[in-house]
Each structure stands twice: as structure tokens, then as C-alpha cells.
Subunit: 342 residues, 2 copies
């Protein structure tokens, strides 16, 4: 499988590392033979139609940014759209930063990939949050696959669990703690008896929160994930504007201390049920499996036959998310093989 990588940050480097390792280690164990034929970043691209060797990928990784200055393979100034259009490949791995205003440039990258017959694996929530129903239709129309495991739960396979492990059952509702930053802030407030502002500052110092933290603390990141779960798992065609969103700015230490008297705490929970899709701080019991602390993520699937099932794991991290990309590529390869057979 020939792969174009778009975006070369932490996850992009992680993906090249994991794939390079597969080259030598166990690329045959799943009948999967990945070849990175191009990497596009903001300054241009590097292209090698025969696929970069693992040694070359390691060199690029050491070098870091400005790959396009490479004497042998560099194409300075070449845009990602041009790369997707012109380079022959089976799949595009889209890893540019999230933008929930208009989802660009990822949205254009993904649609260009579809129109040129390429499968897409992305870790970018923006295009899915704003246009998931349209994107899944466009993928189907062009007879290609769109996969996005890394967008929800990071390395924790929440989407796959719901799709593959609950066959024969029916998911009635989903509740999730889907944002590590807000969960860290709420956990810290309660455990260290500090204010929202102090906990946020700590989270920023530790690199858990951005300097501009609105995406996390105002609930937008969780809402994007709720949109993805809702479309993919529940078959409800919603976008970001359909989600009723309340963040955690108004949660005070006093509120947490008050709920603690009842052996409860407050968590930012994304909910999908019969009444709609929402993101809100809600009170939950300490003994609820959903009640995880720190930067962990958790999701509970309420099922018809098998009661509540909760999956907990790290919601973020470069290696974890890169591994989600690998799982998606393997899934596409598997789906293609099934198609060939049928």
C-alpha cells in the first residue's frame, strides 16, 4: 500500500516510526506492506515513488521540519493538494492541525483524496465534526474508505470496540469522558483543593492544556468526538451545530466539594441518547466506572443485552495516536482483501 503523509508533527513522526518498524519487523504478519511515497508539510514535500526506506525515514525524523529542502527527494513549495493530486498512492494519511471554523486545510485534502480515488486515514476531528455525513457519502460515492480511529480515544480503540465487539447487541446510549485536559483540570481541582484557574494554569505548565484553551475547556473538543461517535456508531447524522455544549469554566471548587459530600464528583460528559447529543458537566458517582481521574478517557456503551460496558485508556499521545493510524490502515487493507474475494 502506497501512502501519502500530510502533516509532519508528532503524530506524523510517530506514524513513520511505526511503519518503518513494520518494514523490518513484522510487515508480513498481517499481509500488510506499507510504503510511504510522499510526505507533505507546510513548506513543501518530499516524494519517492518507490517508497522511502526505513533508514531514510529515520533521517527525516532526525531532521525534523523543512523536509522539502532534501537534495534528492525535496520539492520546496509544493502544496499538499498538488501532492495528493499528482502522486500515485492508495491512501492519504491526513494529520494537519484541527480547525473547527471551516475544517481547512484538512477538508480540501480529504475531498481531493476521495476524488482521486485514494482512501483516507485521518486523526483530524475538524472535517468530521463539520461535515461527517457529507464526507462518508463522498467516500462511498468514490468507492474508497475513510477511517479516523485516532480522533476519539487516541490510542484506545473506542470506535472499533463499538463496531466490532458489540455485534448482535444494540447500543442504546453512549456517555463519555472524552477530553483529557478538562478531566485533568476537574480531577486536580478536587484532589488538590484548588480553583479552576489554578488547575488550568497547572495544566498549561504541564503541557496538558493549550495557551488558548477554549477548544478543550469550552467543550468543543468533546463535542467533535460526540459527533463522530454519533454518526459512526449510532447512525445519527449530526454535525457540530447539533450538539448542546456547555464547558467547565463555571465549575467551582465549592461545587466539587459539595458533590463530594454525596460521594460524587463533576465530570465533563458527552452524551448520545434518545433525547439528542450534548456535552455538559454532570454529577457522577465515584463508583461509576466512567469516573476516571487525570488525563484518562472513558466511554460507557449502554447496551440492550450486555448492560453497561466501559472502556478506559489514554485519550491522547503521539505514539498512541500513530498506532490508531496503523490500525486504520490495516483495517482498510483487510476490507480491500474481503472485497477482492467477494
Amino acid at each position: 500500500m502506497r501512502i501519502i503523509l500530510v502533516g509532519y508533527g508528532v503524530v506524523g513522526k510517530g506514524v513513520t516510526s511505526i511503519l518503518a518498524k513494520r518494514y523490518t519487523e513484522k510487515n508480513t504478519s498481517y499481509g500488510f506492506n506499507p510504503k510511504i511515497v510522499a510526505i507533505a508539510d507546510v513548506d513543501g514535500a518530499i516524494i519517492n515513488s518507490r517508497g522511502f526506506s526505513s533508514e531514510k525515514l529515520e533521517t527525516f525524523k532526525q531532521k525534523g521540519y523543512q523536509l522539502s529542502t532534501d537534495a534528492e527527494f525535496g520539492n520546496p513549495g509544493m502544496s499538499a493538494l498538488e501532492v495528493i493530486e499528482e502522486v500515485e498512492a492508495e491512501a492519504v494519511v491526513e494529520l494537519t492541525p484541527v480547525n473547527i471554523k471551516n475544517a481547512e486545510p484538512a477538508l480540501s485534502h480529504i475531498t481531493k483524496a476521495f476524488k482521486t480515488g485514494k482512501h483516507v486515514v485521518t486523526t483530524n476531528k475538524g472535517p468530521l465534526a463539520l461535515a461527517m455525513p457529507a464526507l462518508t457519502e463522498l467516500a462511498e460515492h468514490n468507492n474508497v474508505f475513510l477511517r479516523f480511529s485516532g480522533t476519539v480515544g487516541g490510542g484506545t480503540p473506542m470506535l472499533e470496540f463499538a463496531k466490532r465487539c458489540l455485534v448482535g447487541d444494540k447500543i442504546l446510549a453512549i456517555k463519555g469522558i472524552l477530553n483529557g485536559t478538562t478531566n485533568y483540570i476537574l480531577s486536580e481541582m478536587g484532589q488538590s483543593c484548588i480553583s479552576f484557574q489554578e488547575a488550568l494554569t497547572n495544566a498549561q505548565k504541564l503541557g496538558y492544556a493549550e495557551r488558548e484553551p477554549s477548544m478543550d475547556i469550552d467543550g468543543f473538543d468533546t463535542a467533535c468526538k460526540v459527533v463522530i461517535l454519533s454518526n459512526w456508531i449510532m447512525g445519527k447524522k449530526v454535525t457540530l451545530k447539533d450538539v448542546d455544549i456547555t464547558g467547565i469554566r463555571k465549575i467551582t471548587l465549592e461545587m466539587l466539594q459539595d458533590t463530594a459530600k454525596r460521594c460524587n464528583t463533576i465530570k465533563l460528559v458527552g452524551t448520545i441518547d434518545d433525547s439528542g447529543v450534548s456535552v455538559k458537566p454532570i454529577e457522577i458517582s465515584w463508583t461509576n466506572p466512567l469516573c476516571v481521574s487525570g488525563v484518562l478517557n472513558a466511554v460507557t456503551f449502554q447496551t440492550e443485552y450486555a448492560a453497561d460496558q466501559t472502556l478506559i485508556g489514554r485519550g491522547a499521545g503521539g505514539v498512541e495516536t500513530a498506532n490508531a493510524v496503523l490500525r486504520d490502515l490495516l483495517d482498510i487493507r483487510h476490507k480491500l482483501a474481503s472485497k477482492l474475494l467477494s
Copy 2:
């Protein structure tokens, strides 16, 4: 798919209900068309080569035991082995009670099914605990499938999660709270400040513990599940005698109160790692996702790329386990379809 049901207790009745519901409701949604052609119980069997209607199955369920006295389809005194040998079917669902001394009668039922070319779905840990490496080989040799989702985690798809959702990653170790009875007893001791004996008596009153509770509290039930996880997920060919087992009889209220000072508690944990397979009461933190209370089950998969991933759900229950049987039947159907295509 023609199915022979062996054992007609709570799970057996649940299986007939779920399958009957499929007849009418959504039997086409997975291309799955199940037909129960025989039910064998201790007193004999009922047989209908064309498959029992959902109405008839409901009548049997109302009747309860002694199905073999049915005027139309009853075969009083006919043994399960004879039914498996003589009735034409694709699959046997084996639901007899657990026996970890010699695994009978389930072991004979399963081997008879294999030798007559029938797939097996079982919820019975006995044969797997004592002879899993041999049974999986025998199934392969006879070109049939053996599935047993309901043996670990009840309705919570712990085995499927590890097999299907962690593709591309590597599981380094497994730790699990796999027995609801012992977890209820330990939780109750800590929360209600009562002795082991009092908590056991409460569990027996509530129906969570058997009158002869050794299987649970001495760790054998957890050990059986550790054997299954070890063989199926980790590829380690062990049986019950390889597990280092310590139960919870010696856990005192004082020990729990002492660990509570460190914000920890004691849980009966099954462990599979490089050092071997064991079942032991160990001290874990309240904030560890594995630290579930009451009758819940939890399992943590320690992975190479995606860190720790924990799955929590109800470990038992008739409906939940019956649903695991349905998942297994669907999986076999899916596997058979893939085979036909290849």
C-alpha cells in the same frame, strides 16, 4: 445454521429467547438464520429437524424442565451424546454446569461435536481450563470452530476486544478482576466494615455466592479465566495446573483498613505476564481503572503502543451470557462466509 442446545438452564433459556427474537426481528441483519433443531437436558431431549418455531420455544421456556416429555418432539432418556451424534446440525451450543475435576460431561460433548464435524460454542470453563491446548488443536484438525466468549467477562466482550481491537499492537501483559463474587465480598468488607465470613454470608443470601463457594473464593473460577485468556490472547499453552492460585479466605477487614490508609484496596487479580500466570489478592490504588466495585468485572490489557486499556462490564448474568453465545454464533457464521469466499 442448525443448532443443538445442550443444557437448558438460565443461559439456555436466554439463548432460545434471543434466537427466537432474531427469527422475527432482525435475523437478516447479519445474514444469520439460526434454527434450534434439538435441546438436550439431563432427562432427555426434544428434536425437530426442521427447527422449532419461536412460539414452540416460548412454550418450552414456560414449561421449564423435563422438555423430553413433550408429546410431539420429546425423546425421554436420550443422552446429549446421542443427540450430538445423531441429529444433523452445524453447531452445538454447550451450556452444562462447570466441573473442573474432569470437565465432564462437557468435554465429551465438545469432542463428540468436533468428531461429527460440528462447530461448538460453549460457556463452560471446565473443558477449556483443563484441556484448552488439546481442544483448539482438535477443532483445527476437524476443520470446525470453537468459541467461548461467555466464559470470560460474561456479556462483556473481553476476548473479542483483545483479538479484534488491538490489531497492529502487542499485548504485553493482562491483569483482570474476573470473578464477581469475590469482588463483591472484598468490596462489601471494605465498604460496610464487616468480616470475610459476614460478607460471604451476605453474598450467599443475595445469590452472588454458591452454598459451596470454593470455586469462587479459592480463586479457581478466576484461574479458569486466566487459562482461557492466556491461551487465546497471549498464545501461551497453559492449563489450570500451571496457574499459581491463592484465594481470598485469608483477607481480613484489618488488612483492607490498613491498605485504605494508603488510598489502596485489595482485589483478587488474575495476572498473565512474562513471569507466568497467577491468581492472587493484590493491593491496587483506588484510582486504578481496574479497581471496580461490587460484582463488576474488569480487565486491563497492557499494550506496547497504546498503553493500558481497561474494559469494564458485568461479568455474569443469564441474558448477558446468552448474548455472548449469539455473538459467537455470528462470528462462526462470518468466519464460514469468509472461508467460502476465499
